[in-house]
Structures are given as structure tokens and as C-alpha cells.
């Protein structure tokens, strides 16, 4: 009995101490003491944590880099595909714009039957101004058919195969087109040249031709239908001693950027060669 009391008293004392400590801790009185006690533990934990993270990264980061690289390549590939799609759609849009313009031109002239064709090449010789188009006799194209765009006259079909045709441009040095002027009465001959410039020849001296005059096909000679826009007079050269005036013409069509053309299918060119007198009787 004697020995039990002090044990009970000790237990009660310890319990009171614990409760007291808990109450002091809850009240915040033990913070400085906890701080002093925990700081070394935190430091040690921090040291271990840093080392562990370093080792973990050392072991795991290469795998992540590989994954990231793969992902990056995948995304880059996707970007490239999207860029290609954008470019392709831009090209389709450009082609569609050209075709819409050609369609508008064709609608304005319902009497003519057109075949649209893409330009796929140029003559290998630098002396000649010819185009190669992707439609031929299979599409009803024959030699001598006029070729136009929504802007104006391009040239004439020179040679035909089943799936392609060669077009002589009006800028070719061997090209001749009979033309007339929109606002003054008179006719002339449009001649191509090596440099790609087109000039008007055989303009009568009495004709009062001025810059800006619109030039259209006259239909004379039977090679082209009449009233197709050819271009605009840029400058006029007239000398008193000459029989005729000459003039430089700015073509309505930009031949360097030509991508699509229309062939007038229902125009029958007239072959005047038998009517031209030859030296032999």
C-alpha cells in the first residue's frame, strides 16, 4: 500500500506534466523550444532531400529528355504538316481565284466555248516565246485556236498532241496580230519581239494615235476573233520620212505569271496561205 501511493502520485504527476506541456504547446509557449529542437532535424531532412532529388533526377531525367525529344519531334512534324497544309490551301485558293476570274470572263462572253488549261512549261529555246499547256486534241483543241485569259489575248495554239498543246504568245518574234484602236478609227499590226516587247506596226501617218489608247483584235486575217483586248499604247514613234508610225504596247496579260489560260474552242481560224501569192506561177 505504501509503495502504491508514490506510483500513483508519480503517474498523476507525469499525466499533469504531459497535459501541462500539451497545454503550453497549444498555447504557443513552447515554439522557441520546438524551433531549437526541430531545426537540426529539418536541416538533416533537407540535406537528405536535396541529395535524394539530385540522385532521382540523375536517374530519371535522361528518360524524360528522351520522351520530351520524341514529343518535340512529334509536334514539329505536326507543325510541318500543318504548314504544308496551309501552303497547299493557299495554292488552291490562288488557283481558285484564277479559275473564278476565268469563269467570269467566260460568262461575259457566252457565244464562245472555252477550254481551261494550266500552263505546264515553256519552250526550251530562249529565242521563242511559247507556252506548253496541259490540254490537247483529246479535249477538242486544234491548231490555230486563239488563247486568252480574263485580262486579254495570250496567243494561238501552234501544235497539239493528245494531252498537251504548244501556244505561241503574242510576244514571240514571229507573232503577228491584226488589231484596231478603241477610240480612233484605224488598224495596225501587232508584232512580237525577242525582248518580249510588243509593238504596233503599219500605223498610217495620218492617224492621231496617243498614249493610253486601247488596242483590240480586229479579226482581219481570220486568225483571231475580233474585240479581244490586247493592251494599251505606251508610246508612239512617228518620223516624217517614214511611211508608217510605230507604237509600243503594254500587253494586258502578264506573261511571266501566267498559270492558266482559256482556249476558244468554237473559233475556226481561216487559213489564208493559199491566197498569198508565191514566186512560182
Amino acid at each position: 500500500m505504501k509503495s502504491k501511493f508514490p506510483r500513483t502520485l508519480l503517474g498523476i504527476t507525469i499525466a499533469l506534466l504531459i497535459i501541462g506541456v500539451i497545454l503550453l504547446a497549444l498555447a504557443g509557449y513552447l515554439q522557441p523550444a520546438f524551433g531549437v529542437a526541430i531545426r537540426p532535424v529539418v536541416s538533416i531532412q533537407e540535406w537528405f532531400s536535396t541529395r535524394f532529388t539530385a540522385i532521382y533526377e540523375l536517374l530519371t531525367v535522361p528518360r524524360d529528355v528522351t520522351t520530351l525529344r520524341a514529343r518535340n519531334a512529334e509536334l514539329e512534324n505536326e507543325v510541318s504538316q500543318l504548314q504544308a497544309q496551309v501552303i497547299e490551301q493557299q495554292q488552291q485558293l490562288n488557283e481558285a481565284e484564277v479559275l473564278y476570274a476565268l469563269l467570269d470572263f467566260a460568262r461575259d462572253r457566252p457565244a464562245n466555248q472555252y477550254v481551261a488549261a494550266s500552263v505546264i512549261g515553256r519552250d526550251p529555246s530562249p529565242f521563242l516565246h511559247y507556252l506548253i499547256i496541259d490540254h490537247g486534241s483529246d479535249d477538242g483543241i486544234i491548231h490555230g485556236m486563239p488563247v486568252v485569259t480574263q485580262q486579254g489575248l495570250v496567243g494561238v495554239v501552234d501544235a497539239v498532241t493528245a494531252g498537251a498543246a504548244r501556244v505561241q504568245l503574242i510576244t514571240d518574234p514571229s507573232s503577228y496580230v491584226n488589231v484596231y484602236f478603241q477610240s480612233i478609227e484605224g488598224e495596225a499590226q501587232l508584232v512580237g519581239s525577242l525582248t518580249g516587247d510588243v509593238t504596233l506596226d503599219m500605223i498610217p501617218q495620218e492617224l492621231n494615235l496617243s498614249e493610253g489608247e486601247i488596242v483590240l483584235t480586229s479579226g482581219l486575217g481570220g486568225s483571231f476573233p475580233e474585240n479581244i483586248l490586247v493592251g494599251q499604247v505606251v508610246s508612239v514613234q512617228s518620223q516624217e520620212n517614214d511611211l508608217f508610225q510605230t507604237a509600243l504596247v503594254q500587253p494586258a496579260v502578264d506573261f511571266n505569271t501566267l498559270t492558266a489560260v482559256l482556249i476558244i474552242r468554237n473559233f475556226q481560224p481561216v487559213d489564208t496561205s493559199p491566197l498569198i501569192p508565191t514566186a512560182n506561177p
Binding site: I120, G121, F127, Y130, A159, P173, L194, T195
Partner: protein, 166 residues
């Protein structure tokens, strides 16, 4: 085998010529890659099929071009004749020989073209043609001779090594 090889190579060259090379102009001149290919091939000491290549190239270009009176065909045959003479004599420096052949052949081809076009009544003068077309074309042809010669030379080595192995 080398004769068969001429078909895809010359067709590819003709497609490139009509679609790309003819659009790349220096003043009014353009390069003629078929002419350069023939010169580089014909001057190679191993090549025995030069005439076949020239006939095929001439036929193809004559078919595609509007140039009258077989001017490309005649020009390529003359080129191959000159190349064969060089092949027999100056085999030590084939690149120089190729440059010389390209130079001479371009002048011959353009001279023939100017002559034929003038006879047929084209609106052009000799001086204008020479300054506007021939001189720039000469420069482009000579510039392109180096890469094309390298390609054709390595191709010839491959072809004739294969044939020797067979």
C-alpha cells in the same frame, strides 16, 4: 545499260528545262541543261553511247520546241561530234574540255537558231539576239557546267564500274 539510262535522265532534264530552267532568265537568256549534260557525258573517256544520247536528246527537244528545221537536233549532233574529238585528244582535263564544248556548242546552237529564225521572218536582229539572249545564256551554261559535270562524271563512273563488274 548506258543507252537505257539516257531515257530517264534526258526526260527528267527536259522536264526540268521546260518547267524550271526556262523560267530562270538572265536578261533574255536561259541555260540549256540538256546541252550541258550531253557535253559532260560525251567528253567522258569511258562513254561509248554519246551518239545515242545526242540523237535521243535532239529528237525530244525538237518534238517539244517550236524551233524550226531541227535546229536542236543538228546542234546536239554537232556538239557530240566535237565532244568525241575531245574525248580522243584532251582526256587529261575533261572539265576544261566540257567548258570549251559547252561554250562552242552554245554559240553554234544560237547561231543556227538566229539564222533559221531570221530566214523565217522573225522580228529580231543578230546583234540584239547576241546581246539579249546568247551572251547571258553562255554565262548561265558555263556556270551550270560545273555541277552538271560533277553529277554526270560520278554517274559515268558508277555505270561503267557496274558494267566492268558484269
Amino acid at each position: 545499260m548506258d543507252v537505257l539510262l539516257s531515257i530517264p535522265i534526258l526526260i527528267t532534264a527536259l522536264i526540268l528545262q521546260t518547267t524550271i530552267v526556262s523560267r530562270i532568265t538572265l536578261i533574255g537568256g536561259t541555260a540549256d541543261i540538256i546541252l550541258i549534260i550531253l557535253a559532260a557525258w560525251g567528253v567522258n573517256s569511258h562513254v561509248k553511247s554519246g551518239w545515242a544520247w545526242a540523237v535521243l536528246a535532239g529528237a525530244m527537244v525538237t518534238f517539244v520546241s517550236a524551233m524550226p528545221l531541227f535546229v536542236p537536233f543538228i546542234a546536239y549532233m554537232v556538239l557530240m561530234f566535237i565532244a568525241r574529238q575531245f574525248q580522243k585528244r584532251i582526256w587529261q582535263s575533261p572539265i576544261l574540255a566540257t567548258l570549251f564544248i559547252v561554250f562552242i556548242s552554245t554559240l553554234i546552237q544560237h547561231g543556227l537558231s538566229i539564222l533559221v529564225l531570221q530566214i523565217s521572218g522573225a522580228n529580231m536582229t543578230i546583234m540584239e539576239s547576241f546581246e539579249f539572249v546568247t551572251l547571258p545564256s553562255l554565262i548561265l551554261n558555263l556556270l551550270l557546267t560545273f555541277p552538271i559535270y560533277t553529277i554526270m562524271n560520278s554517274l559515268a563512273r558508277q555505270v561503267y564500274r557496274v558494267e566492268d563488274d558484269l
